[in-house]
């Protein structure tokens, strides 16, 4: 564990706490207050970007649990999110209450994820990556050719979420709902990481043979990792579907899986705070590019024409640069920054 300088523990409980120092608790409390107050200060556009970030955080942290913590590469996360979206959408269309629909989305996606996770016992590394790639493409086909169930290429139209008669029909109302779910997802994953299961996941990632020798049942723990991760992906999908109010198969293509993988790589593999940074980074990247393009539109009138291609190129470039120059991601940079300010103005 990364211990902090000047922080002593007299019990194992103390060492395993999510927030260890009073200062940390204070800062997290202030951050939560600031985030709760934010929609009153932000305009509609900025609130919508925040909402997208919250959904991305849920997806990224769930993928990070599977890939970053347990070491099982998944190229099918986007499709799992899609499964959640369709299940939640069909449930609410058939009159199931929103929260139950989200729960159903999570459970069914967990089952789908576990089915595709079964080969992970036999397959490792790139074989697993290719198997999950196959899962992604097969599920994509099902989304587009699922007939009544998925609405085919027309997709499904949904009402905004409604809990006990209260309709979350504006960006600001959605903000609180999504904030709640994102915070819950972060809390769940942080807590999983300090239980027996979390330690088992880490041991599988570090070396599966040693893990098995010390008594970790590889099949069970890998399956649980797929299940929990897919459950949260399903929840993210259900929320996303009801947030945008429209589901179509193209949303959940391989590009989505790649952008979630990019989030955890840019943020930092196996780090909860890294998932948050990665999600923020990847969601903001196209928005910033749009803004730049608008700003430069006066000088280069054709720039909007190239924007789609540019966006993809910049995305790929950022991914490569992070992998080459900052393989531990923004979480590592964040640790360095904290260490710097802790000792400021002395270097050591």
């Amino acid at each position: 564990m990364l211990g902090k300088c000047g922080l002593f523990f007299t019990s194992y409980r103390g060492e395993a706490q999510v927030f260890q120092s009073c200062f940390q608790k204070l800062m997290v409390g202030l951050l939560i207050l600031a985030l709760l107050a934010a929609p009153f200060a932000l305009n509609v556009y900025m609130t919508s970007v925040m909402n997208l970030i919250f959904i991305a955080v849920i997806g990224a942290v769930s993928l990070n649990l599977l890939t970053g913590v347990c070491g099982q590469i998944s190229l099918g996360h986007g499709a799992f999110i899609g499964v959640g979206a369709y299940v939640a959408g069909q449930c609410t269309l058939h009159g199931v209450p929103f929260l139950l629909a989200i729960l159903a989305a999570g459970l069914i996606t967990a089952m789908v994820g576990m089915v595709f996770g079964v080969p992970s016992l036999r397959l490792k590394g790139i074989y697993l990556a290719i198997a999950t790639l196959a899962a992604q493409l097969v599920l994509e086909y099902v989304f587009l050719h699922g007939g009544e169930l998925t609405g085919g290429s027309n997709g499904l139209l949904l009402e905004p979420p409604n809990i006990l008669g209260f309709s979350f029909d504006s960006e600001a109302r959605m903000y609180f709902l999504l904030f709640f779910f994102a915070a819950a997802a972060l809390l769940v994953v942080s807590n999983i990481m300090r239980t027996k299961y979390g330690r088992a996941f880490i041991s599988i990632r570090d070396f599966y043979l040693s893990a098995e020798i010390v008594g970790v049942n590889l099949f069970w723990y890998k399956l649980v990792a797929f299940g929990v991760s897919s459950f949260m992906a399903g929840v993210a999908g259900g929320l996303w579907a009801h947030y945008t109010g429209y589901i179509s198969g193209e949303q959940f293509n391989i590009g989505l899986s790649i952008s979630y993988l990019a989030m955890i790589i840019i943020g930092g593999m196996g780090s909860v705070i890294g998932s948050v940074f990665g999600a923020i980074f990847v969601v903001l990247l196209p928005e910033v590019l749009n803004m730049l393009a608008n700003g430069l539109g006066g000088f280069f009138p054709d720039i909007s024409h190239y924007l789609v291609a540019l966006r993809e190129g910049v995305f790929g470039m950022v991914l490569i640069l992070f992998l080459v120059f900052e393989p531990e991601g923004l979480a590592h940079r964040w640790r360095l920054i904290k260490a710097y300010w802790k000792l400021y103005p002395f270097a050591h």
């Binding site: 990556a129 086909y141 043979l209 391989i254 790589i265 789609v308 966006r311 992998l323 393989p327």
Partner: protein
């Protein structure tokens, strides 16, 4: 029956393209253990370079082809030096993601330079079809088939007999042992990327002659996975056969699904359904090296 025979022949032609692309993939994997998700984009870049030289710069096709190959060598060197070398020894996922990032960059460059519409190559080969077993087959298809066969033979011989080929195999087997025998690992890596780029460019040029090219050509790279998994990730023969088999199965399954079940667009996933089945039954493929771990 004739319907299925036609599908079979089409499958062989498509499959020979898959074989070529798979060949590039396997060469990289064999020497460097890098899983290249940008293989389809390398094909696309090769195809666009050759297109641009012949159509936009009016260079005769043969010279354009040679220049394309030269460019591919440079591209391979650049990719290896700038992107892959810093990641030597990193985890699988980092290497996979860096090739995915590379595929995004290459795709976006192609779109920036040439746009997204379909481009058509000038006619190089005659267009009257040969008739084989009562079926008309365009000369381009035969050229594709023959060329991939020839390239496969050349590279098989290269890996078996030439000094560099043997050094590459040694590197693939054990990098440290190879290095201590005086093999420059970095040169081997660079060389394998060059070869892969060349093979991909050839595939791209053939494909351009058959169908024309557009910026979605990179999707072809995903089709490589069923082929190489079927053949075994590190086997050249496996790549060649795997490509052909996947091409045929894909076309026949698509035809059958269309005729018997009325399902459209099954071609896109047929290969991946097959892939899942192979992974379940025989994960190291027909000719791949089994990884045996003893504790």
């Amino acid at each position: 029956m004739e319907y299925y025979l036609q599908l079979f022949i089409n499958g062989l032609v498509v499959g020979s393209i898959y074989s070529l692309v798979a060949l590039g993939f396997v060469i990289i994997y064999k020497a460097t253990k890098v899983v290249n998700f940008a293989q389809g984009e390398l094909v696309m870049v090769g195809a666009y370079i050759c297109f641009s030289l012949t159509v936009q710069f009016h260079i005769p096709f043969v010279w354009a082809f040679v220049l394309t190959l030269a460019f591919s060598v440079l591209l391979g060197l650049a990719i290896e030096r700038m992107v892959l070398r810093p990641l030597i020894g990193e985890e699988h996922i980092s290497v996979i993601m860096v090739t995915i990032g590379m595929s995004s960059v290459l795709k976006s460059l192609v779109q920036l330079f040439w746009g997204t519409q379909i481009r058509v190559y000038p006619q190089v080969l005659p267009s009257e079809p040969f008739v084989i077993a009562g079926l008309p087959i365009a000369p381009v298809y035969i050229a594709a088939f023959v060329l991939s066969g020839v390239l496969f033979a050349i590279f098989s011989a290269f890996f078996k007999y030439s000094r560099i080929g043997i050094a590459m195999r040694a590197t693939a087997f054990d990098q440290q042992a190879a290095q201590s025998m005086g093999i420059g690992i970095k040169n081997i890596f660079a060389m394998s990327w060059c070869i892969a780029c060349i093979v991909s460019a050839v595939g791209g040029v053939i494909l351009g002659n058959i169908n024309g090219i557009n910026s979605q050509l990179g999707h072809l790279g995903l089709k490589v996975f069923p082929a190489v998994i079927l053949g075994g990730l590190d086997s050249l023969l496996g790549a060649a056969l795997g490509g052909l088999i996947i091409g045929v199965l894909e076309n026949v399954c698509d035809g059958a699904a269309r005729q018997l079940l009325g399902l459209g667009g099954f071609r896109e996933v047929a290969a991946f359904v097959i892939l899942v089945v192979i992974l379940m039954i025989k994960p190291y493929g027909l000719f791949g090296t089994k990884e045996i771990e003893r504790v």
